[in-house]
Symmetry: C2
Subunit: 424 residues, 2 copies
Amino acid sequence: MTLPDLLDRRERAFGPNAPLFYNRPLHLVRGEGCWMWDSDGNRYLDCYNNVPQVGHCHPHIVAALCSQAGLLNIHTRYIHELVLQYAERLTGKFPVSLDRAMFVCTGTEANELAMRIARHASGKRGVIVSDFSYHGNSGGLAEMTTGLPHPEPLADHVRAISLPDPYRWEGSEEELIAEHLRIVDEAIQSLEDAGMGVAASLFDTIFSTEGLLDVPHRFVQGLAERVRAAGGLFIADEVQPGFGRMGDAMWGFAATGVTPDIVTLGKPMGNGHPIGAVVTSSILADAFTQDALYFNTFGGNPVSAAVGNAVLDVIEQEGLIENALATGNYLQQRLREIANDFACIGDVRGRGLFAAVELVGDGKLPDPRLTKTVVDSMREHSILISKIGPRDNVLKIRPPLCLGTDEVDLLADTLAAVIGDLAA
Amino acid sequence: MTLPDLLDRRERAFGPNAPLFYNRPLHLVRGEGCWMWDSDGNRYLDCYNNVPQVGHCHPHIVAALCSQAGLLNIHTRYIHELVLQYAERLTGKFPVSLDRAMFVCTGTEANELAMRIARHASGKRGVIVSDFSYHGNSGGLAEMTTGLPHPEPLADHVRAISLPDPYRWEGSEEELIAEHLRIVDEAIQSLEDAGMGVAASLFDTIFSTEGLLDVPHRFVQGLAERVRAAGGLFIADEVQPGFGRMGDAMWGFAATGVTPDIVTLGKPMGNGHPIGAVVTSSILADAFTQDALYFNTFGGNPVSAAVGNAVLDVIEQEGLIENALATGNYLQQRLREIANDFACIGDVRGRGLFAAVELVGDGKLPDPRLTKTVVDSMREHSILISKIGPRDNVLKIRPPLCLGTDEVDLLADTLAAVIGDLAA
């Protein structure tokens, strides 16, 4: 079928509002490593997708999936060794206080379960999130979402706070942190005044949807202290930074110096297979399951456990955390070099294999139009990236962790050429 | 590892409250058709699981899974033909008014999305469910759950109504229906009085958790009329009856004569692979997605679509709906024969390959102790069933749809022997 025919067919099947990337959408048929191919055989460098975290269709993971799918795929009300092994191995990658994994299917289900545990433990109801965040597609999470359009108003138990953004702050870092911790204090006070108290804060530890902000770690520490002092739990959403992307550690929270009370996992966990998890302390988990018969039909099935184990195998055996650091540092270096040449690049941010490039005009004026043009132009040059942030002016570069320096050069050279063309 | 070692290891990994079937839990390692094998090579007839709907590890489905997992596994913001084909094929199995499929990963996600659509369309907030129901494990659904223990109180926007149960009603069917429609009227009035109105009713169309009650179709029709007259939507949860289990149709709602406004799908849809969907009208879906940027990372990915298509292939090619009817009728016949011999069998209910056997003492007094003993004793005879219902006294028989008459005989003969031993 031609692309227009496919688009017609898609609109009939999914309606006019189903999101699709790029002015000229892609009809993809194959993936391998950091590359994808369309139906005409054209090859694209994937610098966007974190679901195929260790590379598209990794043979070790596909083999584990197929092998177990042919043997047994059943739930956790029978004993299966693979899921025990996976739970032990996964919790072994966390600080000792986080000794319990509860398996679900998606990041949405993980954040839902985390909120249930937090409310149960705290006996409180309020939640603090950031003012341009997204944590999932359920009704309860939609009522906490400020980073996507949706019809549900912000729930009365939610406070969405402004995050410190060093790039857009004129004063000292000390003042930036103090100002935003004051906002945290206000949010807590407001939830206390409303009689709901603070059950939890829920933050992505790399602040991706917010624009991959360079939030000072001392702010995160102050936030966690304040939430805990109010009787709430500190929940880290690791759906984006988790599984080694940051290069310095397996999890995004490590760099902040705060060990969360609950961690939620999703997207990259199964390299495309639907797996998610809540990792927390046995104290919190067991107190919750004593009162709640929590059961997740597909969560922790042997096929998902086999896939989860295989993802950990690949991360370890191929040294992907080390690669995220080395290749990520090189990516940052190349992006900063390009930034020196173009006034429209206001800031380059990121850690490991997650980079953000903020595009602006004079006086840091956000340039969402240029940002969209760059993303589409990169796609025309067969390199796939996207954009994020409340002003829609931040390039989002989040490739599979197997990206090498040659691919970084291709990405960076193409970006320089594209911006050069547009700036000319 | 020995079973005690495995149980110790499991308790360390999952804590003391992780649900596990049977007094002597099973350590299963392989499945094929209606059979599973434990680590000692013992074989069990699976008369419980509807997740492996078309049979454990069906080779056609495993082949489709492996083939696509090796090619590409990515989300729906790129075009892929398999998911279009699956959406077209799936909606083709519904009445014409239900022309839109939205893919998610689990029944929980499907019911969450259905509630969001219903609230958006109706502008109302109230929900009517049954008084011993379960529709998922999110926080929002926990607040609607009365069929499982959990710490969340019933939300103030939820009314959990008593269902008509002909087995436990002394009067006429006419009176039974009238009495329970009066309860529906009261629930609606109460939601109106509270200023919330009725956004939706949400019912499993075979009323499984409630004990597979033989709810009169005219009650369902009256319920739908009343909910719609109040401006709400009628949501059918097909996670248990769907995909041909009822034998008379692909979906449980067909027999009731009510075409739902929204249908939710889960468990059997991917034969173990985590897939779910909301099927509704394009009018409702598009109105919602105009205001909500709904995106589900894993929902509708090419691997899930390949698996979903393969499940439909097997249902069609192996005549599994016809088998559910023929074998299901034979199962009902055998169970009724057994019921004639034992006073402790108060009622035999069900449709297609879903059967319930209610165990009672004198005066229909529920016998949960006997029920548990029968379930465990059947397991000792290598036949896997479970129990349901608010009184915990109903045997739940819900095998994969490939069950044959020989297996029905094995199940029925064993059940007769087990009950005979216990009654002796």
